[in-house]
């Protein structure tokens, strides 16, 4: 687990960020202010402040050498970041959209994830790769991929996805402070979600690797991360009148995976559903369901079920709502968790 220095820069403004986008920008700014080795680079991150405005103001404040508009070439961006990291910098790379990180795949898999191991620890890669990811924003093709399965399957990377404004700040600070490469998945459709910070709290710096229970419940555990956490919370609310008291888990990082928190919850509830946007087949849910089952088999009343995107290329905007796992599909899965009533033939808990 990696934690950023506990004291956030005190020179920063007092007002708490209002949206996740602002919290991310603020995390970048605080990290840059605190550590001169933090450099931001990517397409349009400078003058424009990024197409999502996450890096807005950084070039003005820190200069072009600290926040740099690169040529349009993702492998080049990540590849030069590797070289910068070799020389002791902490590059934070922005990939403009999920699918536009693919050109950098070889640099990521063959170098970023392996350089530390290759050199027996001599050459760490403290690189943060920020990837706006996922759907639900009406984006045209290539703008809504959930590509976390690729990153999860790659040893040497950390894979993080915040679900709240506070975590966006706290996890990004820890990602930048980490001496290991972090794929930082920013749920696009939460960019404009509102703050959960109170004005009094200090900037939260959240260590990477700890799942958190977002809602306590006794009947079943909904396991999720990123944009789907909100869906699970809504599903849990909707399940109440149906007689189910659902626990909602926010993984926060897929790697490292917090087996302890997840298994403790599932052992308590005896039932679980994994929810994510990424395609089901070969997606993160398989790993999660399998490892929970391996560890909690005798506590399970039903198989761990998965609610995921269909096994299809991400659909066009007008059809995406049919693809994205929503409250109804989560509830349907919960209903299939072999409640006792099912066995007596008297119908589900509903």
């Amino acid at each position: 687990m990696t934690t950023a220095p506990a004291t956030a820069a005190t020179s920063t403004a007092v007002r708490k960020p209002a949206t996740m986008a602002q919290a991310l920008g603020r995390a970048l700014r605080d990290a840059m202010a605190e550590d001169p080795s933090v450099h931001v680079l990517g397409e349009d991150v400078g003058t424009l402040g990024g197409v999502f405005r996450i890096t807005d103001g950084l070039t003005q404040e820190f200069g072009e050498n600290r926040c740099t508009d690169t040529p349009l070439a993702e492998a080049g961006i990540l590849g030069t970041a590797v070289g910068m990291a070799m020389y002791g910098l902490r590059p934070v790379v922005e990939m403009q959209f999920d699918a536009f990180a693919y050109p950098a795949f070889e640099q990521l898999i063959s170098h970023v994830s392996r350089m530390r191991n290759r050199t027996r620890g001599a050459m760490p890669m403290p690189i943060t790769v920020r990837v706006p990811y996922g759907g639900g924003i009406g984006g045209v093709e290539h703008h809504s991929d959930s590509s976390e399965a690729y990153y999860m399957a790659t040893p040497g990377l950390h894979v993080v996805a915040p679900a709240t404004v506070a975590d966006a700040y706290g996890l990004l600070r820890s990602a930048i402070a980490s001496d290991d490469p972090v794929i930082f998945l920013e749920p696009k459709r939460l960019y404009w979600s509102k703050s959960d910070w109170s004005a009094e709290e200090p900037e939260p710096v959240e260590p990477i690797g700890r799942a958190v229970v977002r809602r306590r419940g006794t009947d079943a555990t909904l396991i999720s991360y990123g944009p789907s956490v909100q869906v699970c919370l809504e599903a849990a609310e909707a399940a109440r009148p149906e007689g189910w008291d659902l626990e909602v888990l926010d993984l926060r990082s897929l790697v490292p995976f917090d087996d302890e928190t997840v298994c403790a919850s599932v052992r308590r509830t005896g039932r679980a559903v994994v929810v994510h946007e990424s395609t089901g087949f070969g997606g993160p849910g398989g790993e999660i369901a399998a490892r929970v089952t391996e560890r909690c088999f005798h506590h399970l009343e039903a198989p761990v079920l998965r609610v995921a995107g269909f096994d299809i290329p991400y659909p066009p905007p007008m059809l995406e709502r049919h693809h994205l796992p929503g409250v109804d599909r989560v509830l349907d899965a919960v209903a299939r968790l072999q409640w006792e009533a099912d066995w007596t033939g008297t119908g589900g808990a509903r």
């Binding site: 400078g46 003058t47 508009d69 349009l72 096994d311 299809i312």
Partner: protein, 382 residues
């Protein structure tokens, strides 16, 4: 550098494999962008071509403004306008024969339309009811390509395949100045040159990749200078001079068709509108720069030539404008209808035959839709 031979015991010889290479000079582009409009050479141009270009440019401009308006009405998710770049868009389409192929980038909807794609189908991607809205084989236009520069190797492969099959088909592939920085640009041009594939690469250098100006994209004397590194000719042309762009592309297409191999064409132009309707161009460029370019408008340049040559009078100009208005009205009307949507299409074309798992998932969605009553959709596609 001159090698002064030494009167010693041996003479320096070039390394064995060294053969005097092709003279690189002819591969280098002109020092300034090639222009025709306003020169004596333009006087000898085919009047029919000039008029055709004019009508298409006027129509194209109208298409751009109409599509942008549709974004404001929520009828398009997004539109990357080619206003100011119509000369490139139209010339690219017109330089090709029926049997040739066009490989547009995401900004080149207009080129696709100029080649014959239905204006509404060309917008499907940007409206969001499906990805590619047209059959690529109907007019030999590849899908509008969003991942930058990735369409370039496709064009090379297609042109190469056609040549292997004995068809004299040329592929014209379009890319932006920003796209030239991608590895796929490099690999595509290299394959094309090694295979002597009949491809023309058209770079629309409109000065920006979203907010990033050319100076942050390349330090090369010009983008056309990249050609020599692949052993193909580079041509530099004023991208707002429709006649010049057309001539340069036409020559490159003929050259390719005749077996002469690929050409890289850089057309110097400007994106008058923001990157897309979602972009705010004032964040990265002064209005004065845009004004300078408005004064170099491709339609105005062409109209002046036509009027000088007596090929355009007020009546013809009006007729062109009216034709463009009819196109726009038709586009508006058809885009104002909700597209027919069938959610079951999600599963229809993932594989030639859906897998068992996809059939199961389709059943699940079908059941959900049935349960929900599914009133406003599912009447199937027309």
């Amino acid at each position: 550098m001159t090698v002064l031979e030494q009167p010693g015991s041996y003479h320096p010889v070039p390394p064995p494999s060294w053969r005097p290479r092709v003279d690189p000079a002819p591969l280098l582009p002109d020092e300034e962008p090639y222009r025709l409009l306003g020169t004596s050479a333009a006087r000898t141009a085919d009047p029919g071509l000039l008029q055709r270009l004019h009508a298409e440019l006027v129509r194209g401009r109208r298409y751009n403004t109409q599509a942008t308006a549709l974004t404001r009405q929520g009828r398009l998710a997004v539109y990357p306008s080619s206003t100011g770049q119509e000369a490139c868009q139209v010339a690219a389409a017109l330089a090709l024969e029926e049997r040739d192929w066009l490989f547009p980038s995401y900004r080149d909807t207009l080129a696709a339309v100029a080649r014959g794609i239905d204006p509404v189908q060309a917008l499907t991607l940007l409206r969001g009811d499906w990805h590619t809205g047209y059959d690529p084989y109907a007019h030999r236009v590849a899908p509008l390509c969003t991942p930058l520069a990735t369409q370039l190797p496709h064009a090379v492969g297609l042109a190469h395949a056609a040549r292997l099959k004995g068809d004299d088909v040329v592929a014209l592939a379009m890319v932006g100045d920003g796209g030239t920085s991608e590895g796929d640009f490099h690999e595509a041009l290299n394959f094309a040159a090694v295979w002597q594939a009949p491809v023309v690469f058209l770079v629309q250098n409109n000065g920006f990749a979203i907010s990033v100006p050319l100076a942050k994209q390349t330090a090369a004397p010009s983008l056309a200078h990249k050609a020599i590194g692949y052993g193909m000719p580079g041509r530099l042309v004023d991208g707002n001079d429709a006649l010049a762009v057309h001539e340069v592309l036409d020559q490159a297409v003929r050259h390719a068709r005749a077996g002469g191999g690929p050409t890289l064409v850089e057309a110097v132009t400007y994106r008058i509108e923001a990157h897309t309707n979602a972009d705010d161009a004032t964040r990265y460029r002064p209005e004065s720069e845009v004004e300078e370019w408005r004064a170099h408008d491709p339609i105005a340049l062409l109209e002046r030539e036509l009027r000088d040559q007596g090929l355009l009078d007020d009546a013809t100009a009006e007729a062109a404008r009216e034709a463009a208005e009819r196109m726009a009205a038709d586009l508006r009307a058809r885009m104002n209808q909700d597209p027919a949507l069938d959610p079951m299409d999600l599963f229809a074309h993932v594989y030639a035959e859906p897998t068992r798992q996809l059939r199961e998932q389709a059943e699940q969605l079908r059941a959900e839709l049935d349960a929900a009553g599914h009133e406003d959709e599912g009447e199937g596609r027309q």
